[in-house]
Structure formats: structure tokens, C-alpha cells
Symmetry: C2
Subunit: 346 residues, 2 copies
């Protein structure tokens, strides 16, 4: 297994170190190569993602990313020039974001019930297409446009993947989240494709929720959701909210998948680089460890993936929530749990 | 005072009846004219908003709307043909949505803290502009676009209004909510206008939050918000979430304002027509009563507006939360409270 690792900025390198500790327990022979991309490289060379680096990244089985971003870099530069560029260049059309409330974890809701959902967020089009512009800049007649571009091809592959995932889960339930009553054209295309694909999956029940109503459901009745499929921007919004109600982005993992496997998929914690706590060993590496679990699952190492998730679940259920320990301490605990699970299983 | 009343569908007529009871207590001479717009009219005549009716609506000081929508009408027809058409034709650029957690009300958060915010949502452009289309419909090459249109003119009037409101509030704090790191062009226009307007309001502190992060803050630290200014779609999403964390859309009121007063402004509860509970006297008319309070405030009747809000606050603090009473019972209580407040004050 050849992994490219982009530790990135802020707490990125800290959580990646722990995640790799965990990985080594289950896949001792994994080869990793580090790529220094992010704020530091941009400051020193002006580079965001050189073609040569992109070419090398393509040679790997998967990419593990810590976090990118620093207050010293103007907003949008690293996001669009590095993170989104990777997602688009590597055709990461399925942005997979599970949200599960693990036993022992207290989120902000008084009465959350059981939460165990997976959001399949489209990752390569919609309002993220970068199609927009300014006219009459800096005048009182300035106009700014942003074009959401939605293709049958782009939507269908994501919807099909979401149905597939729903099919494999006990509840077999899929919710389309959109805003069809206002975004008439994109909404009709998404709705029609969901209807068409549902014919291929007659045992999956299908629901629809407007994105505004979905945010209400996520705080009043999150158990209703099993698999959600949605566009790039709505997915961005509701996965942050879903992470919040399941204990925060410190625990949320994500996979940017090219499900055709033509390009390496990329796995990253949902949290950012958190410069305010960087270098202090305060970051929780749990989301990074869960991202490794998603990575292994994607590469077909289902058993290893499950072991990491089980170890995380055990640690979350038994850790002192108020002071879970330093970044290293949590990483050591997770690595030890995974190692003992691995020995038991073999 | 000449008011146009659109009771609408489902629970709309029920809550409007109670809201008008409350209104009559503070403005005994108010003249009201009912307009039957909504699902019933569409079914029987195919009409959504005839020009003649629009012309008559324009002759009023304000419009009170109950709710429109029915499952028998295809999604989007009434929303775009009636509700959004009214907002656009009457230039309702400031969509005003206060969210306050009243004492006695239990929302879904375990530890909400104090919540008292006002969202100023842009109401006449952005992704709601209706600029989009389909190409190669019903083929595998279909493309759907939605164009978000943002003008300096449209943004500035809303941002200026939000600063004004922030200035008049004790905390004098304004948060711009957008997604500037991805929606580069619209984001830069919104950011620049907020910066420019902040020079006119040096005592208002300004913050920025990406929309995804804002949903996290709304469930983990909602007290941080005072006034929020945001675009039409982000405003749609976060005001539903803000309503949820303050006890649900059963309590949330909104005003669609033309702040130039060239056109009548329109006031409506944030909730929909709730056909599942219609006709059973189960609907809470509180949001409709609070909408009347916003209406009076907008028409300069500040004292009457405050009396209604105070009566609602008193009723919420003292009502049996589990069984607050029938629609009529709540309306009667609110009317009695307003009437006794009115007598005391005069
Ligand atoms: C950093 C930003 C560009 C990114 C996004 O909007 O997709 C982030 O919010 C996420 O969800 O991964
Ligand atoms: C019904 C719908 C068109 C409307 C909107 O999206 O604005 C509603 O959600 C609202 O917030 O008033």
C-alpha cells in the first residue's frame, strides 16, 4: 500500500502523525511519502499544487490529508488552489461523510436519540464549479454571479453510489436534500435522477427534504436520516451541522472518493487547521484516525477499517470526556487498542 | 391602517384569525381585506397572482400572510408563482427574521444560553433570482444551471439596513454569513460592501462566518450572534435552524420589507401550511401574532408592537408547554393579555 501524506498546516501534522501510528498497527508494510503543501510552501515559493506534485500524487493508492489553512494566507487561496483543486483534478465526485453519535459522546442536543447517518455529498460540480464573475467591479453597478453547474452524468454517479450504500445498510433509507421549490432546474434534474435510480433499488425507501427543513430535522429528529444524498454546497452545510450534533468536527472523518478508482481518493478530517491550538498537543486525532478507517475501507481492507472504528468507539465510550488526553496520548491509546484488536483477530 | 390579508392554505386561515384578534386589541380601527390566494384558487381557476390582485395589494399599508402550500399542488408552483413573486414584485429586499429564545421555551439544545438575534436575509436576488435553465433535457447529457445574481445595489441596501439595526441594539454586533472561500465573486462583493458600510458605523463590531461554520455555532454557541446579514439562500437555511434552536418554527415570525416603503411590506410566520394538522385547532398562532408585532413596528407603531411581543413573552413563560391549548385558546389568551397591557399603558 502506497500512501501520499499531506500533513498541511496547523494541527494537520500533529493529527496525521497519530493517524499513521494507528495505520501502522493494521498495515505494518504501508509505504508513506510526505508532500509539503499548504501555507508554508505557498509563503516560501508561491506554489499551491505544482503539476509535478499532482503527477506524483496520482501514483499512490490513496492520499491522507491533515488540514490546510492559515490566517496568514488570504481566505480562498489554499481552499481553491489546493484543497478544491485536488478534489476536482482527482475527480473526487463522492464526498463521503458519515455522522455517528458514538456511545459516551455528548453533543449539544438535549435528547439526540440514535444518530448514524452517511452523507453522500457531490464533490465536483454544483455551486463549487467556479463558474462566476464580476462585472463593473468597484462601481455602484457591480454585479457578481456564481453559476451552479449540474450534469446528469455528475449527479447520476453520485446518486447511484448513495443508493448502493443505502442498500447495504440495515435501514435502506435514502433522503435527497435539495431546494427543489426554488432551484427549479437543478432541483428537477436531481429529483428525476433519484426517481430513475430508485427503480434500480426497489428495496430502498426514498424521502425528500428541503435543505432548510433538513437543518431543523438534524437538531430535532436526526434519527430519521440514514443515507443522505445532496449537492456540493448543501452537503458542505449539512455535514458541518451533522458533525456538530454528533459531538463536533473533532470527531468527523471524510473521504473524497473517485469511485471509479482511476485516481487516488483522499481522506481528511472535516476539521480545519485550527491554528489557535496548533503545536500544543491539544488537537484530537480521532477524526484523522477515523479518516484512516475510511481509507482502508475504500481500499478493500474492510476488516482493518472496522478494527480502527471499533477501537475509536471503545476509546470514546471509556475516555474522560472532559480531559481526553494530549494528541499523543489519544493516538497511543488508539494504536494500542487497534493492536490488541488485531492480535485477537489474527 | 389598511391591511391586506392572505390567509392562504392549511393552518394559514386558523392562525391568521387569531393574529387579527390580537391586532384588533391594539389597533381597533384597522381595516382588513381578505384575498383568496393559494392552493384553492389555483385548483379552481389556475390563477396564482392575477395582476389585478397584485394592483389591489399595492394599495394597502401592509400585508399579513398565513401560509401557502398544499400537497395537492406540485412543489414549486405556489412558492415561485405566489410567495416569491410577491417578494420580488413588491421589492421585499429585507427579509427580517428575529430568533429569540423566550424564557420558558425549551428548544432542542441541552445548554442553549441566551439567544436573541436578528437575521437580515437578502430577499430579492442571489440564487433566488430564477436565472437558470436546462440543456439537453431528458438525455444523459443534460445540464442544469442556477445562476446566483448579486448586485452592489441589492447588497448595499440590505447591509446598510443590517448595520442600522445592529447600531440600535445593545451589543452592536454584526456577522456576515457567506461562503467567501468558495463563492469567490459573490463573496468578494458581499465582503467589500460590508467593509465599506462598516466605515459608516464605527461602533458596530463586525465578524464573518462561513455558512457551514455558522450552522455549527448556531447549535454550540448561538449567543455569539446579534445581527446576521446574509444572502437569500444562506438566510433561508440558517433562519430555519435559528428557529429550531429557539423552540421551533411554530414561534418564528418574519417580515418581508421594502424599507423604502414604496411597496407594502408583507409579514408571515416562518412555518408552512402544515396540512397534516389543519382544521384541528392544533396550530400555534404565536408566530402569526409575532408577525403582527413586526408589522406594527414596521408601520411605526412601536408601542403597540412591543405590547404584543411582551404579551407573547408572558404567555410563553407561563403556558403549559406540553399542552398550550387550542389555536383559539392561545389566540384568546394573547388577545386578553394585549388588551390588559393596552389598558394599563393608556
Ligand atoms: C475549506 C472548504 C473549501 C471546504 C468546502 O467548502 O468543501 C470545507 O468546508 C469542507 O467541507 O471540506
Ligand atoms: C417556501 C419557500 C419558497 C421559502 C423560501 O425558500 O424562502 C421558505 O422556505 C421561507 O423561508 O420563507
Amino acid at each position: 500500500m502506497r500512501l501520499a501524506v499531506i500533513p498541511g498546516d496547523g494541527i494537520g501534522p500533529e493529527v496525521v502523525t497519530e493517524a499513521l501510528k494507528v495505520l501502522t498497527e493494521v498495515v505494518p508494510g504501508a509505504e508513506t511519502t510526505n508532500y509539503d503543501l499548504g501555507a508554508t510552501r505557498w509563503h516560501s515559493t508561491g506554489e499551491l499544487l505544482p503539476e509535478s506534485v499532482l503527477g506524483e500524487l496520482r501514483q499512490h493508492d490513496a492520499i491522507l490529508l491533515g488540514a490546510v489553512g492559515d490566517p496568514s494566507v488570504p481566505s480562498g487561496i489554499l481552499e481553491r488552489g489546493l484543497l478544491l483543486r485536488l478534489r476536482f483534478e482527482l475527480d473526487h465526485h463522492v464526498n463521503l461523510r458519515p455522522a455517528r453519535l458514538y456511545p459516551g459522546v455528548r453533543g449539544p442536543l438535549a435528547d439526540p436519540g440514535e444518530i448514524d447517518m452517511v452523507v453522500v455529498r457531490e464533490g465536483t460540480e454544483g455551486p463549487y464549479a467556479g463558474n462566476g464573475g464580476l462585472l463593473r467591479k468597484d462601481t455602484e453597478h457591480e454585479i457578481a454571479t456564481e453559476v451552479s453547474v449540474n450534469t446528469a452524468f455528475g449527479i447520476r454517479r453520485v446518486v447511484a453510489d448513495a443508493f448502493q450504500r443505502a442498500q447495504e445498510r440495515p435501514r435502506k433509507h435514502l433522503t435527497l436534500v435539495h431546494k427543489t421549490n426554488v432551484l427549479e432546474h437543478a432541483g428537477s434534474l436531481w429529483s428525476r435522477i433519484v426517481e430513475e435510480e430508485s427503480l434500480e433499488h426497489p428495496d430502498v425507501t426514498v424521502a425528500y427534504s428541503h435543505v432548510d427543513a433538513a437543518t431543523i430535522h438534524l437538531v430535532t429528529d436526526p434519527s430519521r436520516f440514514d443515507v443522505i444524498v445532496t449537492d456540493n454546497l448543501f452537503g458542505d452545510i449539512i455535514t458541518d451541522l451533522a458533525a456538530a450534533v454528533t459531538g463536533g468536527i473533532g470527531l468527523a472523518a471524510s473521504g473524497n472518493l473517485d469511485i471509479t478508482k482511476r485516481n487516488p481518493s483522499m481522506f481528511e478530517p472535516v476539521h480545519g487547521s485550527a491554528p489557535d491550538i496548533a503545536g500544543q498537543s491539544l488537537a484530537d486525532p480521532t477524526a484523522a484516525a477515523l479518516s484512516v478507517s475510511l481509507l482502508l475501507d475504500h481500499l478493500g481492507q474492510k476488516e482493518a477499517a472496522r478494527r480502527i472504528e471499533a477501537s475509536v468507539a471503545f476509546d470514546l465510550a471509556t475516555r474522560d470526556q472532559a480531559s481526553p488526553g494530549s494528541t499523543q496520548a489519544i493516538g497511543d491509546r488508539l494504536a494500542a487498542l487497534v493492536s490488541s484488536n488485531t492480535r485477537q483477530a489474527s
